[in-house]
Symmetry: C2
Subunit: 219 residues, 2 copies
Amino acid sequence: MHTIEDGTGRAAPPGLRERKKRRTRDTLIRSALELFALKGFDGTTVDEISEAADVSQRTFFRYFANKEEVALAVQDSVESFFFARLRERPAAEAPLTALRNAVLASWDSVGEAIESVVPLELHMRTYRMIESTPQLFAAHLHRLARLEEELAREIARREGLDVRTDPRPQVLVAAFGGVMRVTGKLWGERGNAGLEELRKITTRYLDQLGPALAENWRN
Amino acid sequence: MHTIEDGTGRAAPPGLRERKKRRTRDTLIRSALELFALKGFDGTTVDEISEAADVSQRTFFRYFANKEEVALAVQDSVESFFFARLRERPAAEAPLTALRNAVLASWDSVGEAIESVVPLELHMRTYRMIESTPQLFAAHLHRLARLEEELAREIARREGLDVRTDPRPQVLVAAFGGVMRVTGKLWGERGNAGLEELRKITTRYLDQLGPALAENWRN
DNA sequence: GAGATTATGGCAGCCTCTGACAATTGACCA
DNA sequence: TGGTCAATTGTCAGAGGCTGCCATAATCTC
């Protein structure tokens, strides 16, 4: 959201103050993720992160509302990135198709966007940590829920519907989001699979959405 | 899970010690929910809850791992209750039908089960608080995610499938769970709607699952 | 009733997070 | 260039969540 260019492409002239802030923020993220990878989320204190980034603890909390937030910062950017891809889908595409294409499209280029903040490998380790740390996983789900609200609004906008009266956008997004969570979880369990692997799992599981809702599975 | 009889109907002979523990636990829950309703979740300290229940703070943390847990205790029971209803569905029912009937069935009788611990009205207030308190909502979503894993296993068992090879149980449950979250949210926003209202929203939204996945919405 | 278990209370202490105030630093203009 | 204003940071104090440890008190078992 803050540190990853989402592809909108508009460049603003950043003053020294802005650049410094961004640098501090990125340093905090990097320091945190490295420490987390080394000693785990609970095993790392905010004091340690602050010290590694060479700022006071108080400053840490001015950049991140809580310890979870720094752990989810990159993931958060990834989700904004995906959302930006959705907006780019042509209006002619059906809702579910647009969602599907947006995920696949985002994985084509999100890798480099991540690298601009932390090494991809470190982010993947972090992702696995999120899935396996209850407190982080809970916060992650919460963010996804908020993302889904945005998605529903965007789908409704595309189709010219009112989210308050037509349930379909929310229902579609809920189903879609559910599948994405399952695939994310599977991917995380896969240990060290790459983005191609993730792509495979996703298409496979999305393809099962129709069949899964069918009345009779025993055919 | 602990305080609500889930309908399995097995009666064990509880000694004085067990009864006392259960009473303490229930008192803690009631005290907590009342204070939460009065002063909000963040505005209530564990010390206050403990004092209201007439135990030490240390004892509180022996009953609940953290402050969130006591807020979600009743909701947790409700979910176990639903799960028990799912197990009772006849094997002939198709997966989605079984899930749907299980929710509806659980709402027929969960009211009394709740009343055995706290007034229904208080629980509904608590539910709304959960939806509107970020920290609680996150924890709630986490619990739902774990419930969905159980549901997927149960569906797979019913259909004689292996969750590891067939994606359908997980996909179905993910979609179903997503819709349930949306309905729960809507119900919470509805202010003071009763269980009948919840039932209506649920059937309405579940019915939209098929249409929402359709390729073209403009028919 | 004596001894073994188990629940509770009290306390010290770590960690997360916040408010308040002072000091520093960058932005901007005469 | 220097001076003013606004934003950023550090320091400090303190509340609140949560845990380990040990002593005490309450049940359970025989």
